[in-house]
Subunit: 365 residues, 2 copies
Amino acid sequence: MTSGRVEALRSALAADGRAASMLVSDPSNIRWLTGFTGSSGSVVVTAGRVLLVTDGRYTDQARRQLDDAGLGDAEVVTAVSAAAMDAEVARLADGEALGAEATRLSHARWSALAEHASPVAADGLLEGLRRHKTADEVAVMERAASIASAALAEVAPMLVAGVRERDIRDELEYRMRCHGADGPSYETIVASGPDHAARPHQRPTDRELCKGDWVIIDVGALLQGYHSDMTRTFCVGEPSAEQLRWYAAVAESQAAGLATVGDGVPAREVDAACREVLEAHGLGEFFIHGTGHGVGLDIHEDPFVARTSAAILHSGDVVTVEPGAYRVGTGGVRIEDLVLVTDDGHRPLTSFPKDDPCPPSPPTT
Amino acid sequence: MTSGRVEALRSALAADGRAASMLVSDPSNIRWLTGFTGSSGSVVVTAGRVLLVTDGRYTDQARRQLDDAGLGDAEVVTAVSAAAMDAEVARLADGEALGAEATRLSHARWSALAEHASPVAADGLLEGLRRHKTADEVAVMERAASIASAALAEVAPMLVAGVRERDIRDELEYRMRCHGADGPSYETIVASGPDHAARPHQRPTDRELCKGDWVIIDVGALLQGYHSDMTRTFCVGEPSAEQLRWYAAVAESQAAGLATVGDGVPAREVDAACREVLEAHGLGEFFIHGTGHGVGLDIHEDPFVARTSAAILHSGDVVTVEPGAYRVGTGGVRIEDLVLVTDDGHRPLTSFPKDDPCPPSPPTT
C-alpha cells in the first residue's frame, strides 16, 4: 500500500522549501511511509536515499517490511544508541537543513540532533499526505468497521439491568478479536446512567446498568494498523418520551452534519450544521465537544471537524461525524459514524442501525 | 497512596539544585504525584503551590482525584489551549528556573514554554522517587501478577497442535479481564515454533501451534495503573532431550540471577550471573537482550538490569529477571519473574510454576 509515498514526501518537501531532507520520528508516519511497524526507529529521506535506523530487535523485520513495501533500495542501519543514530542522521544531512517533527521529537532528542545537524520544524507534511486514503486503505477501514459492528450486534442483547459496564467492554473487545481485529482501536467506552453517560470520555467501571439508563458505547477495531470509530447510544428498557426527544434531536443533528459533508466543504460548516439542529431543539449548550476528526493510522488525525477548524474537506478524507448532548443527572446521547468524503458527498464506512435507541434483539435461531 | 509525594519532590528539587519549581508532563509521573489519570494535563509544583492544568473534559475528574489524594489545596485550572497553559505555568514560575522533562516534552512545546519561562532539564527526579514501591503499591502489583497467573492456568490446556497464537492471546487477555484486570499490561506475546519463538518481541499471528514447538508466553495484567510482567515457556507435546537441556539451562540462569538480587547489589551483577550460566552451557551467544527492568506505573522503568547498567538495586525496587536463549530454526526459551528487592534478597510477586516446560493439566473437576 506504500507505493509512491517516498516520492510524494520528496515533492512535499520541495514545495514546502524549508528542507530537502527529512527525519521522520512519528510511528504512524513511519508506517505510512515505509510499512515498518517496530516500536523503535527513525527514517531519513533525502533526495536520493532512504535510511531506516532501528535497534537490534527489529533489524530483520525492518528489512523484510521495507522489501515488501517496494523499498528494496532503502538502507537499514542498526544503531547501538540514540547518539549513534543522530551521528548517522547528521552524516546523511551533510550540513544541509533537515526537516524534523518538532511536535513529536523530545526536546532532549532535538537538542542532541542539533549538535550534529540543522533541524528545522517540518511538522504536518506527512500528516497532510496521509489524509487522502487510497481504495486499499478505505477497504481495510471498512472491514475494521464491520468487525466492530458485528461485535456490537452480538453484545447488544447484554444491555439489560444488572450487567456491569466493564463486562460489556470486555465482551466487545473479545468478540472484535474473534472477528479478526488485531485489538480495540482505542479504549472502548461504555458509559451508563445519569453521571457516566454525561461524560464524553468516561471509562468503563463496575457500575451495573439500571432500567431507564442511557448507555453510550463508543467502539472501534484495529486492523493492519488502521482504526475504525463508531458510537451508538441505547436505552435500558423502554425509552421515555424525554429520552426519545433527545435521541431524535441528536439523530437529526448527525444527519444534518452528514448531509453537509463533501469535497471542498469547510470542516467548520459540518460542525455548524450539527450545532444548529441541537440549538433549535434547545440542546445546544449540552453539545460540549467538537463534531469529529480524521481517522486512519491514528485514531485522531487531520482533518479535525470543529467550530474553529480551518480545514477544507477533500475527497479521500475519512472523518467521523459525532454530535452529542450531555447533562449531568440525565446522561447523554452520542451518535457517531465514520465516513469517506466523496466528490458529491460521503459514503458511510460504519453501518450499525441507529433508527432508535432500543438495543437490537438477538438474532433468532 | 500518594501521601507525602509532593513533599518528596520538593526535597528532591532542593537536593538537585537546578530549579525550585517543576513542570511535570509525563502521565505516569503525574499519576504517581497526584493520582490524576486523565490523558491530558500538566502539573506545576512550586515551593508553596500545586497546580494541575487540564482541558474541560477532565476538570471534574481532576478535582475529585486531587481531593482523594489529599491534595485539596491544589488548584485545578482549565486551559483552553496549550498557549494558555504555558502562560499560566510561566506566571507561577515567576521568572525563576523551572524544572521540566526534556525527554518527555516535545521540542515545540519546550520552545513555546521558553518564550515565557526558563525551563531547565530535570529528568529522572520523579523516576528516582517512583523506584521505591510502598507496601500498597507492591500489594496491587502482586494482585495483578496473580490475575495473570490465573488466566495462564486457565489457558495453558489450549497449548496443543492446531491452535493459533492469536487465539491464545485473545483468551489470556479476556480471562485477565474476567479476573478483574483493567486490561493487559502490554501487548501479550505468544510466540511459537522455530522462527517466532526465536524473536523476543514477536507479536501473535495466525500461526497454528505444531507438535514439537516451543511457545513463549509473556503476559501481564494492568491494575489501578500498575503493571505485572511474567514469561513462561512451554513445549507442545513431549519435550525432546535437547528442549529439556535448553529449558534447564535457562531455568538455572534465572535462578542464578534471582539469587544475586538484593539491597545494594549492582544491577549488572544480576545480569552477569544470568549470562555466566548460559555461557557455561554453550548458550551465551543466544541470550540477545538485557536481563530485566523495573516495573510499576510504567512497564519499563528504572532500574534497568543489563550489562551496561550503572544502577544499584535497593529494597523496594520491583524488577524483572528474564534471561532467555533464542536461535532461528530452533525457537527460544525465556523465563521471567517479577520480584521485590528486599534487604536480604528478593520476594517473588509472580508465582506460576516453572519446574518444567510442560503445560499444566486442566484442574480436575
